[in-house]
């Protein structure tokens, strides 16, 4: 039974990979060829533009949402204040609502305030859906350490900013980094929300893939998939050290 599942899991990918080397544009096997890889690397300027946008948006939105989320998590975890319940609920909802709702609502917002759709709106959208994840991840890290070290810092003369920068942030760093990485991953992957808030000329990799799919089957997509899969595997292996660091203690 397990093998059935595994076959189900991998079969599509195997087909994808195999046909990326197909000499024909159709799904008829016509011999080995690297032409689609050639097409991918040398003839797809729009695709690489989109890829560049994806990376840019991922890095910038992950950075902002990590900063906002870390501060927010610290505030919620250690203090009580009047709008705390509101923040907790408001930042929990995006995690459970369907992406289409978030995408459509942002589109309507931008239309209502007259903000033109483009990279900026994509950036805003990405920060918005990343923020709850960072809040969640950093909060759980805050839960894990001995809080008396914060009192000790005050006791020894630290002002709030000292305690934050010299104690809280260094000790929560694994959580902060985890939040940042999750944000980057989600941002690179996102399709639905980005689809609704992107304007003409601002494309990300998923959006570009979507438009390619819409055009019909093209083995360039296969080639791209293979590159992406290979890239993720290489990335995963080379960052094992980071994972160890995040999950220590």
């Amino acid at each position: 039974m397990f093998t059935v599942t595994m076959v189900f899991f991998y079969a599509p990918l195997v087909v994808l990979i195999v046909f990326s080397f197909n000499n024909s544009k159709t799904m008829h096997w016509e011999g080995l060829s690297l032409r689609w890889y050639h097409e991918l690397f040398f003839n797809s300027r729009d695709l690489w533009n989109a890829f560049g946008n994806s990376v840019l948006i991922a890095l910038t939105s992950a950075s902002l949402s990590t900063v906002l989320g870390t501060l927010g998590a610290i505030g919620i975890y250690w203090y009580n204040f009047r709008f705390k319940k509101y923040v907790q609920i408001a930042s929990f909802l995006p995690l459970i609502l369907p992406e289409i709702i978030i995408g459509v609502s942002l589109l309507i917002l931008f239309a209502a305030i007259g903000l033109k759709l483009g990279l900026l709106t994509i950036f805003i959208a990405h920060v918005t859906f990343n923020l709850p994840y960072v809040l969640l991840i950093v909060s759980s890290r805050l839960d894990e350490f001995d809080h008396s070290i914060i009192e000790a810092a005050y006791d020894l003369g630290a002002r709030e900013i000292d305690a934050l920068l010299r104690v809280i942030v260094p000790v929560s760093m694994p959580g902060i980094i985890a939040g940042f990485l999750v944000s980057i991953t989600l941002s690179l992957e996102d399709f639905v929300i980005t689809f609704f808030v992107a304007g003409p000329g601002a494309s990300t990799l998923p959006l570009h893939i979507y438009s390619m799919i819409r055009f019909g089957v093209s083995p360039v997509i296969n080639a791209l998939s293979v590159v992406l899969i290979a890239g993720s595997i290489i990335l995963a292996f080379s960052t094992q050290g980071i994972y160890k660091y995040i999950f220590q203690k």
């Binding site: 009580n80 923040v87 978030i102 609502s105 992406l228």
Partner: protein, 297 residues
């Protein structure tokens, strides 16, 4: 005592979420009560037309389709994920197998959908394969129907169901199954009477992570569903961009939001009730049941 810096820390996030989540959702809520503008947009006149439209036949059909597809996808996903999770939990190569499960996860979501299009399409892999073998003589329409949607939904959510199931099964005390078999239970009896009751929380989490997202899906039905398998997600988008009926799109969004939130709360409540017994107590009570059975035997 030190100053309450809480508001200072939390304010940036609070402002952002308010501006870019709470406000937009509120706008949608408002729009659902307004009149449709002639060329799209809204007219600022109060109207319940958008909600009345929810009771018409077409909409109800779509809702039904959404429910049916989500339920079927969830059931099939569970049926595949459970044995897989069980197998992995019992295997010596747990970590490798888990890793193997997660790798496909890293490919872009759209690429995974595309893979199925390439397979199921009219000139896709499956059709070519069947034609070659002479099993069929023309192409078979595998794509652009509810079945394709279900297949791709299952494919998408399988890892989400597998991981929580694995996590719960991993903590299960397998000697209880041996005890059951020792007392005369067959394999399936052991599984249904001993294993499943003890991994209820895992099953519920897996259902939560599959059903709710599937219910609100947009991309999958949009890409592989064709004209016969509209789900709530796709018609929200359609009303917004095609028929430009913003109030209607809004009212469906409100409905979807309410249903999703309610669904999550219900699941959380059920999960809390299940969590009344700790794992140890579950194991202990199962042993007790088995011992009682032994006395009866």
């Amino acid at each position: 005592m030190r100053k309450n810096y809480g508001p200072v820390y939390a304010l940036p996030s609070a402002l952002w979420i308010s501006a870019f989540f709470v406000v937009p959702i509120s706008i949608i809520f408002m729009y659902s009560f307004l009149e449709k503008g002639l060329y799209g947009g809204v007219v600022w006149k109060f109207s319940l037309e958008a909600y009345r439209a929810l009771s018409n036949c077409a909409f109800l059909k779509v809702s039904l389709m959404t429910v049916v597809l989500s339920v079927l996808a969830t059931l099939i996903t569970l049926a595949l994920a459970l044995p897989a999770a069980y197998f992995i939990a019992r295997s010596r190569y747990k970590n490798t197998l888990l890793f193997l499960v997660i790798i496909p996860f890293w490919t872009n979501f759209l690429i995974r959908i595309y893979a199925w299009i390439a397979i199921l399409g009219n000139s896709g892999f499956l059709n070519n394969f069947l034609l070659r073998l002479g099993i069929t003589h023309g192409y078979t329409q595998f794509l652009y129907n509810p079945f394709a949607v279900i297949i791709v939904l299952v494919y998408t959510y399988l890892p989400f169901a597998l991981l929580p199931l694995y996590s719960t099964i991993e903590k299960f005390d397998f000697s209880l199954l041996e005890a059951a078999r020792d007392l005369g239970a067959t394999n399936s009896q052991a599984i249904f009477r001993v294993l499943l009751p003890n991994i209820k929380t895992g099953i519920f989490t897996a259902v939560l992570f599959t059903f709710i997202p599937a219910f609100g899906q947009y991309a999958v039905p949009q890409l592989v569903g064709g004209r016969n398998s509209f789900m709530l997600g796709t018609i929200i988008a359609r009303e917004l961009t095609v028929t430009r009926n913003w109030p209607l799109s809004s009212s469906i969004s409100v409905a979807l939001t309410v249903l999703t939130t309610a669904g999550v709360l219900v699941f959380l409540r059920i999960n809390n009730n299940l969590g009344g017994k700790t794992k140890a107590e579950h194991a202990a009570s199962t042993r007790l049941h088995l011992q009682i059975k032994q006395h009866d035997a």
